[in-house]
Symmetry: C2
Subunit: 249 residues, 2 copies
């Protein structure tokens, strides 16, 4: 029996945002590997071995998955959101490229999922309804200068922006700087959405004008979405609707 690796996106948290394709892969798997809180979302059953591992060991985890598949096991690598967006798919392919040539001909599939920015956008309205960009604000794997350059160019291009990993305890200064750059480059009161733990019981959505944003509004469970210059707010009873019209002047 030939093994495989499926790199699957579990979506942002709610079970009803997991695609049937991913559910079938999990039902067929012999092994599930991934970061502890994501593996915890997979139900245990006879015949399935769960391999939770810590954060920042993405390449070790990927190698482990590939080794097991080479031995004939059916391995699901779980990510939250979509595995192709700041998640496990790139890590697995990095391991494939650096690994034994045989790994290249393993059956490896990526199963897409609902990525956090789209779940967050849906809750707020349609802030990404026009051209936009997605930037990982963590400088663990890239120089901060590159992030800063991208922020400035994204503002100049008038993209709406989605920020993954906006702020962690170990690097609180990056998001401080991000807000400074955005205020300088945008110079307006466009809406910023702080969407925390979307689709989970801890979900919290705040809409804040850019000049009023403060760093502690974000943590590692928060997606930050920044409107473009054309993004609009519809006030109503309860939470406002934030959307970016389809047309631009």
């Amino acid at each position: 029996m030939s093994g495989w690796v499926k790199i699957a996106g579990l979506g942002p948290g709610a079970d009803d945002l997991v695609t049937p394709e991913v559910q079938v892969a999990l039902a067929d798997a012999t092994d599930v590997v991934g970061y502890i809180p994501y593996v915890a979302r997979v139900a245990e059953r006879p015949g399935l071995t769960l391999h939770p591992s810590d954060n920042r060991v993405e390449i070790d985890r990927s190698r482990h998955a590939l080794e097991m598949a080479a031995e004939g096991r059916r391995v699901v690598v779980v990510s939250s959101g979509d595995p192709g967006v700041f998640a496990m798919a790139a890590a697995v392919f990095e391991a494939v490229e650096a690994g034994p040539v045989d790994w290249r001909n393993l059956q490896i599939e990526v199963l897409p999922g609902i990525t956090a920015m789209l779940a967050a956008a849906a809750r707020a309205g349609a802030p990404l309804g026009h051209d936009f960009c997605a930037i990982n604000l963590s400088d663990n794997l890239k120089p901060w200068a590159l992030i800063e350059k991208r922020l400035r160019l994204a503002a100049e291009a008038d993209f709406a922006m989605a920020f993954y990993n906006p702020r962690s305890k170990s690097r609180p200064e990056g998001f401080v700087r991000t807000l400074e750059i955005l205020n300088e480059a945008c110079g307006d009161s466009r809406p910023v959405i702080f969407a925390r733990a979307v689709s989970t019981p801890q979900e919290e959505i705040r809409v804040v004008p850019l000049p009023d944003c403060t760093p502690e509004m974000a943590d590692m469970r928060t997606m930050v979405l920044v409107g473009s210059s054309t993004t609009r707010i519809i006030e109503r009873d309860g939470a406002p609707i934030v959307y970016t019209p389809r047309s631009a002047p």
Copy 2:
């Protein structure tokens, strides 16, 4: 009984990429509105009225959905992919903003879906595994000069890029120009992915070095993904894997 509007993403085409959340909404609906080919993906059943409409009548369709919800009906507005990405959610909110004040307090929800760029990326590997942008190449609703500006800035920011609506019969020249700009601005042989009709029986994926791309490789059913300067190809038997590493120099 109070009505609602749910703006739902059907994903790129395959049934197993439709979330359970969207399936439940369709099962609860009294009415489904949307562009003809998307409404055709919804199974008929007693108690459900399908309202297919033609392309380019997004605001009329939105008003119709909102009017029905105001009358107490349960209306699903269907989009392919994700409704918040170059799809119906922004159109519905445009109609809400321009419409009677009462519409603002209707129950309106956006149900996210698997957007085309992420389904296409999954098929190719992980080309959007690092910072990226999404640009609608249609100039129906924005000036071509703005598209051109965004392309140049996106290349300068070294984003991977995802292009929606790259080319139609009525505006074939835009994608010709896009390729010229990219060749000029990127000046390398980064991989470009042409992903047509992803997850349908007509699916076709091609990976082509940027200088070898020609306009007719894309049509309106094609997602075009352009790598960043760091995007890599893993050659193997069959289709190559295209991925963008998580780290950048």
